[in-house]
Symmetry: C3
Subunit: 267 residues, 3 copies
């Protein structure tokens, strides 16, 4: 399977035109960034975590993004409630298992969510994806210590068991399901010096999944856009501060030609 | 009623000189932006939401801004407690009913706050303002779907019933009370692609209400400054990332001459 | 005691090379900034506040930063739990008593933390430091109203009683322990118009304490880097918005030569 610049840009145009509501239950650190990235690409972010309203908010959303970056019991309950409602309504759920493997609490929460309410897409770095399957892997905080290559096997097994798409992100992003794999080689090393760009990638997966019915293609498109806007921003930036600023500008201005010239995809 | 560039700038000078403490009980997404906007204009933001301390914090504040963007039970209790104390102390309360109409929980919370502790100023987009009065209006997330014109009637009724100023913000901002209306036509469409600029407007209403005793004038001045700094930033920006950065710079540097040249106000 | 540009840069190189995990239990307003500052200097920030996981997160961290800027009961419990575990593991704890003196709740929390789990470093402005000792001092929000000079005596007594380093930050930063004092005169007035730069300073103390075993030197180095990057950013900035952006860029790019040319330290 391949994705083309034309297909990616068609999805961007749909996002800009439909402005789909993307409901985020995410961590405190990145709420602002991810809301801004969703707005920049053309979506309508909402953030709501109260048990009293998550189901109703899911009902007006076209995708749900769950990110476990700053967990507590109250939020976990809302995550389950929202995921259940999203599945009932048939809207795609994206799970970002931030820090899975770093503590038992995160690992368990991510695994329980996957078992009880299988998401359409799981996006994490190699350590996090491995922690969803393998008790022996250990994350160093929220960084990726494990090799991406080693995580692909876990990703495929996860995909087979739970019928979901798994994205192992890193210098190369691997989009995996039980039958196929796609590699995206866009991005820039300086992106790892800006907090929440992984979380932003997951949020963008939500925006693309809202307009593109195939979760595999939606994830690939989102990761390509993430990498392309990120490398454009990094090339112009003097450091991670300006990278974050330019990244939002570039998401907003991204043209079909930018994507055409830069897209590095392999199957 | 009219407001002039000279009056607006006089209030800015008072804010810069007095550095009034503005107490914010606001949502997680925008806390950073709104604190930065308050600092940039010259005020002293504080954020505190614990039931144990909100009353004491109100006691050292010159205005209280309540924003329901990411609600939960604990925060709602603190909002009521703080609003009650603010009314007792006679300091102005600004209410931002973010997402009212999107879920019953938000609509109810906003209405209950207004009924039990009527604020000096309510600022929201057309959908949100309509949801405070009309059960049939429905918000699409936190965006404005309804026409501003249609919301003005609701705003006037709200103002009559609760003796408050209501601002319906949008491409044109309407400042409404039971007797008069003022239209501010500053701003730029790209501002809607930056998260939390509506919340920032409400925070600025708090800063102006802290130094200007007439809530109607304070609201009009804040909205004019918001629109002027926003359009200056948008004209220089390459996208929503740089817009946010320049917006804070422009708030900080805003001169009487900038306001004089750009102010678009009509009654 | 003196610190030199060479020593400071050696610590930066250690941070960049070791990428130490710095665990932050901090306030909602600044989480994003402080995570970005830690990434820009080369550290690995993690944010985790759930009682279920703070001890485990401390176990993989090289420093713990506790900031009381947006307190509530649940967070306070986690702060104590994490601080206890950090002391047990022998990793340095940095305490930022944001707003101590503004409300009894904050003052009590900060004092209780210090008494029960003495941190390696306390960093606050003059008002906050005085409030840790003196019931008569009163903070105006989170700003520094008190004179830094007056706070130094309190800092020394605090240091004697609890065997910690105390940093009184302001136009001049004073690093104090029971025997010595160091003054750092870097920085720029515009920095006070950006939210969370004090909190960022405390986070950087965590990064330096993770690689430099003497808390006094670590604190002095962190405050020097903070002031130098801040003044470089402020000189290039058009206002507080661009200051924040450039600050992260400058932290990322900081060279030994930058430090050598700019360092203003006195004992």
């Amino acid at each position: 399977m391949k994705i083309t610049a034309t297909e990616i840009f068609k999805s961007i145009e749909l996002i800009r035109c439909q402005s789909p509501v993307v409901h985020n239950i995410t961590n405190y650190v990145v709420m602002n960034n991810t809301a801004n990235a969703l707005l920049a690409i053309g979506a309508s972010p909402v953030m709501a975590h109260a048990e009293e309203e998550v189901e109703e908010m899911v009902n007006i959303a076209s995708a749900l993004v769950i990110n476990i970056g700053t967990l507590s019991e109250y939020w976990i309950n809302s995550m389950f409630k929202a995921a259940r409602q999203a599945r009932k309504k048939g809207i795609p759920v994206i799970l970002d298992p931030v820090g899975a493997g770093a503590t038992a609490y995160r690992t368990k929460t991510a695994r329980d969510l996957i078992h009880s309410e299988p998401p359409a897409v799981i996006r994490g770095n190699a350590s996090e994806i491995m922690a969803l399957y393998d008790d022996k892997s250990k994350t160093k905080g929220v960084d990726s210590a494990a090799s991406s290559e080693a995580a692909i096997d876990m990703a495929r097994r996860l995909s087979e068991t739970h019928h979901c798409v798994v994205c192992v992100s890193g210098p190369t992003d691997y989009i995996v399901d039980k039958e196929k794999i796609l590699k995206i080689k866009n991005g820039h090393p300086m992106m790892s010096r800006v907090t929440g760009l992984g979380c932003t990638a997951s949020a963008l997966c939500g925006a693309f999944a809202a307009v593109e019915r195939q979760p595999f293609a939606a994830t690939a498109e989102a990761m390509a856009v993430m990498g392309i806007a990120g490398e454009m921003a990094a090339e112009a930036a003097s450091g991670p501060g300006s990278l974050q600023t330019y990244f939002l500008d570039d998401l907003y201005r991204l043209s079909e030609d930018d994507i055409h010239r830069r897209l590095k995809v392999e199957d």
